[in-house]
């Protein structure tokens, strides 16, 4: 079965500090993985995606993620966060058939001034 687990439901971090949001996946086949961000009262915006090739993926707003097949992880990182990064972050795994997408339960990132 396919699934996505986000290990941290809430992550508070001080402004300009680094942050890592953790995501682990379960899948028996080759995977694509996405990170989406949802700002308060807004829709989902794609941060970055892993399709194939380089395991280090760079996205928008200074975020990056590393695909680790042996650890079945796709953790999201940013070296220095800003207040504007306060949002909900979702790790997403497409199903094998492509007919739906599995969402993690989300990580609420709060950047503290």
């Amino acid at each position: 079965a396919q699934s996505v687990t986000q290990l941290d439901s809430q992550v508070p971090v001080f402004e300009e500090a680094p942050v890592e949001l953790r995501c682990n996946y379960s899948s028996s086949v080759s995977v694509y993985l996405f990170w989406y961000v949802q700002y308060p009262n807004q829709g989902l915006q794609l941060l970055l995606k892993y399709l194939s090739g380089s395991t280090l993926v760079k996205g928008i707003n200074g975020f990056e993620a590393e695909f680790n097949k042996s650890q079945t992880s796709f953790h999201l990182r940013k070296p220095s966060v800003h207040i504007s990064d306060t949002a909900e972050y979702f790790c997403v795994l497409p199903s094998n058939t492509g007919n739906q997408f599995y969402f993690g339960t989300g990580t609420s990132l709060t950047v503290i001034p």
């Binding site: 807004q42 497409p94 739906q100």
Partner: protein, 113 residues
């Protein structure tokens, strides 16, 4: 660039009323996905369509139905609305099974009073 368009952006209904949510995918996209996101919850997959046929079904109540039309837009019909149906309803589109190119709409915020 054109994005996924959802209408209306906001909808207020009373219990036992009906509602219709519309989704217009990105031009040439033939696959549509519907998700429901309750307050503070992660998005839950409802249903998806490919080439006007239902391709997958998730936790969609029997009171809900959906279809994809010849122009690939999709409508989610909701009857006998309940308070618990209050949520943000997302539509996403992609081209066939190329789910690495998935785009989300901004959602319809449904409030059932």
């Amino acid at each position: 660039a054109a994005g996924v368009i959802q209408s209306p952006r906001h909808l207020i209904k009373e219990k036992r009323e009906t509602a219709t949510l519309k989704c217009y995918p990105i031009p040439r996209h033939d696959t549509v996905y519907w998700y429901q996101q309750g307050p503070g919850q992660d998005p839950q997959f409802l249903i998806s369509f490919y080439e006007k046929m239902q391709s997958d079904k998730g936790s969609i109540p029997d009171r809900f139905s959906a279809q994809q039309f010849s122009d690939y837009h999709s409508e989610l019909n909701m009857s006998s609305l309940e308070l618990g149906d209050s949520a943000l309803y997302f539509c996403a589109s992609s081209l066939g099974t190329e789910n690495e190119k998935l785009f989300f709409g901004s959602g319809t915020q449904l409030s059932v009073l």
